[in-house]
Subunit: 359 residues, 4 copies
């Protein structure tokens, strides 16, 4: 009921505050026999970790995940897999000045309104630091899915109003990880990086969009009427810090199309059912149809900025706040592995759920 558990079959439970002792996750429902490649898990965490480049926050965390249970001789045993990441570089004193102030567009006020008490250091539980636990769990989900031929790739498609005007088919997604902004178009990547640097120099922040593509997903995943595959993907994305929107397939642009244009016609090729176009985004009636699943996720500009801002404190008095504390000028480069992780968690969950519906 409190909302720190995600998934039904492949279910994760996360914990941890930005400046607490540790963050971590328990996975309950990973089937036995999955090869748990610890190096892979760490490499996923490295893609998300702070301090990885000049355009992300400079907090220094090794983000080393320690597996505490559920793995025996390199394989999952079907019992809960717990992973813990101890916090190292927490500069809590940076936050003393906002202990009783509500930073604009942060979760300070809402946590105060909801709980009456909050760990204000580094944003506490509302910090995106929590997503490291998701990435660790998502890496296990990826290992499960990889063995099923499912591949998930996310990339940055927009920073501010610099939008990559290409579909995923027109891009070489192998390029994504070759630059620090994670945009698969090297030229555009360069421009985005320069732009983010300029924004940072201003002490300001900027939003962006992450696109994702899931290939190799079998037909049949998704549980209507409510747990439609795209609905669970949407919720997963919207639960990521700073996310403001989600669209899949034709998305908001599909609105302006007529049915006669938008309908994806079926045909069969090599014994496989396919559609000529894919405005459906690989999901029809909430169930995967075997085509590529693709979607876009909008992220707002980070709320922490350097210039002085007007706000109030717990007593309701007018105050000013200044942006101490290390932060990202733009979340999307580090959001890429998070979007992938959450996608993997949703697909793994529905993959296991579909087994229950076998005739």
């Amino acid at each position: 009921m409190a909302g720190n558990i995600f998934g039904q079959a492949f279910r994760i439970s996360t914990f941890g505050e930005s400046h607490g002792k540790a963050i971590g996750v328990i996975i309950d429902g990973c089937p036995p026999g999955v090869v748990i490649d610890e190096e892979f898990i760490q490499s996923e965490l490295d893609r998300r970790k702070p301090g990885q480049s000049k355009i992300v926050t400079q907090r220094k965390e090794s983000d080393t995940a320690q597996i505490l249970s559920g793995v025996f001789e390199g394989k999952s045993t079907g019992t809960p897999i717990a992973m813990v990441i101890y916090n190292a570089d927490a500069r809590s004193k940076d936050y003393g000045h906002i202990a009783d102030k509500f930073r604009p567009s942060h979760a300070d006020y809402t946590y105060h309104a909801k709980y009456g008490i909050r760990d204000y250091r580094g944003g506490g539980r509302s910090s995106a630091r929590e997503t490291a636990a998701r990435v660790a769990a998502g890496a296990v989900a990826k290992l499960l899915l990889r063995a099923q031929g499912v591949d998930i790739k996310a990339y940055v498609s927009q920073v501010g109003n610099m939008a990559l005007g290409k579909t995923y088919q027109e891009l070489d997604l192998e390029e994504t990880e070759k630059n620090i902004v994670r945009c698969p178009d090297p030229e555009m990547a360069e421009q985005m990086i320069e732009y983010i640097k300029a924004v940072r120099k201003d002490g300001d922040t900027i939003g962006g969009v992450v696109n994702a593509v899931i290939t190799g997903c079998p037909a049949g995943l998704g549980e209507p009427a409510f747990d439609k595959l795209h609905a669970d993907l949407g919720k997963a994305m919207l639960s990521i810090n700073a996310c403001k929107g989600f669209e899949y397939g034709s998305g908001f642009d599909g609105v302006a199309m007529r049915g006669s244009e938008h309908n994806d016609h079926f045909y069969q090729e090599d014994g496989q059912v396919k559609t000529k176009t894919n405005y459906s985004g690989g999901v029809q009636g909430g169930i995967s149809n075997g085509m590529d699943i693709y979607f876009r996720v909008a992220f707002k500009p980070v709320a922490t900025i350097v210039p002085e801002q007007e706000s109030i404190n717990e007593a309701g008095e007018q105050v000013t706040v200044v942006g101490k504390g290390r932060h990202d000028p733009c979340v999307v480069p580090r959001a890429v592995p998070i979007v992938e992780a959450m996608s993997a968690l949703v697909i793994a969950d529905h993959f296991l759920r579909q087994r229950m519906m076998m005739v």
Copy 2:
């Protein structure tokens, strides 16, 4: 695990196929003492029902909800409230010709791939007829919320590429229900209606956007990290038939803004915490902040069109399908009460969940 249950505290379980005996819902978790106004429930169903105007499907259903349990002397008792709506005007013979064919962009193929068996008549479970059960349950949620001062209003803001270029503050939302397309701008409504008529004449369909505004929602609703209020709203909307996207507050447009523009500054007025702007859309860190909650929902064009289309059948053979069966040329007029109902279910659920977090 099968996905026909929605909500945690105010939990609904729906059933029913388009051409089966009945559709319906059980609400488990409605607190006792809520005045159950049956006329109001019926009036909400009437807003959704087919045959209500010339621009919606002409299937004739009275959509009369019968309450079977959970209400005593006009009030909820805290026990499950079951409601059933018997199907009347099901012309199943209209569907015999597609019994083994997969209509483009319908759920025929995916249901076949998932379950191996399907009630093809009228789309079976994948039909939007299922949403009548949601509207009945949502009406009860509205009654619960109304007593708390929460009001939910949705309206059509776009049909095809005819977009209402106004914010909800610039509109008179009392106008919404005065026209059959449910657009609060009378002039634009007229144009939308004419446009939908023209599309229908072509045997074609068109998409649209529904906006929603929730006022009077107290601060503190939403359960991070995963069950953020906007994430649950997003999932709720994406679970509605034909939905392709969801954005709240600044949404996809917020991407191009800088933090210094986008941040909502707090101030206090009449003892109430408010923000000067509301790009946050009333939700910060996944928790309501007391400001208006607003969002947009994209709907694709209906898949059923009159012209002949290419497709395949269960045997994988190339076939053509034609659009028999009554259908909507554009879903958004009837989607308005559904968006409201799903919003009410999410807010009621989080309203009850928040009670558990009381100090």
Copy 3:
């Protein structure tokens, strides 16, 4: 959260009051392709229905279940199966005299304390009438399990202090349904029937014990640490009206045994793992081991008795209550099909859950 939903994978949601319009159930999670034998469902309801013999309540209900959804051409489709049973013979006026009184050992006071409002007619939601919905759902679970070779048989082993001093292996369980008390020992059955008649004549009631045996259950069902198979069976039984205790395998008697006696030694026969003794009751570490699962369920005497009793009313005043309203002198004959139904629901649920753990 409100407790009217049971099961995770094979999940049921029940509704209905004793004297309301109807009672019923939605099954969410029945896999597709199960042959839904309506006659069998009805025959199970007939085993539970009132008025079936002289030793049960004389309320006259045909208890006809109507399937509203989820079945197409005689088979389950994987979508929710809703069943409704309309109430017929509700003599609500029998209950006017206790509208504001708390009958001893009934749920009148606790429902009042919990909800502040209650449908007092016939006990409302607290009536065992609710269990008809469980039996209907359990019949579907039985149909699913039957195809897997799982068989569930319950019988009466004790009424008052008349205890059947035999193990299930010493009995012919085919005899159970041949007498109205459902005791498989014909001689003992006769005595029990006479005893219940005598108790009824006194206007009094008596308790009893129901035993159950599940054969053909595959090894591997059950989800430690918490959802152990016997723990879920125990909860299922304890959720039945009037249940006071549950024990499986050696049960409370096992307490006095030494490990050297109690341990069940493994051996292999015809390629199957078996144990020489079965004090484990077919469940070890919370997971089925392929041996027979057996357990015992204690039921208290029905609270409704004819003689005048002391009690209080809503105002806290001392009052007397008399036992109007038709009732059972002993619940165990009718509890037999309920125990079987709840067993079937638990086994079906774990059968589907186990599929997720497949390597």
Copy 4:
């Protein structure tokens, strides 16, 4: 779906194997503002820990719980509380000889049948070591409940066939913790201790019964029809290792009583509703009535014994196993704090759930 999560509102997720790196728990749903007394949590763990006396297993574990999150300045914040206990004294080499053998009445075979892979060291996940995590979480639940006036006390009432022939009212429960067997009758305690020592000398084990009493529980807790308070208590107890049975109030003995004897008559005293007798065990219709809640829990003899036993190995070959590995001769002394912890978790869960039903 995998069964390592317990509770709905006060929800715990546990992990860990007997000889893995650590065991632990996340509590999701502890309300904010609860004073988290770490010394109390540790003292509860000390009551359960191995090596505490001569009649329990001699494994040496300090069982020190480290709180990783969810607590700020000594109080819960409403966010997940994670606790971890690192394993210290794991002698895994004691278990090499049973790596592929199935010990009689252990979970070796069933884990093998279910998962195909298992951490055999010390019983892996099936070890009662897992219950330390429950005790840590239960201590937090106790702290929450203590502030509400709820008190939970368990004690040993039987070892082998040495049964304490007294009700809890006839005992001084303050005596329980004064002896190592945790029986509140000092004389009987002495005899039980001698008996357990004798059994241990034989290399054998013996069963026992733990009784529990919950006082100060408000009326109104419990969620019919399925999540009845006693049904959730029963499941909680049955989920504890070695548990074979559960009964509450009159329990199995109530079976032989007539309704006229068994009914608890209401009266009012000092403005409080009470019953003259309490055969109901404080729960009526699945909801607490404000009277003492009491129940009994049966535990079988521990399966690990010293003498050689017949069994089979993974290949199905006949083998002998001998009882290496440290173990308890009788579980009940250490089961007392576990029974209390699970009771606290159930009551805390229903206490929070009841808040949702407030008018």
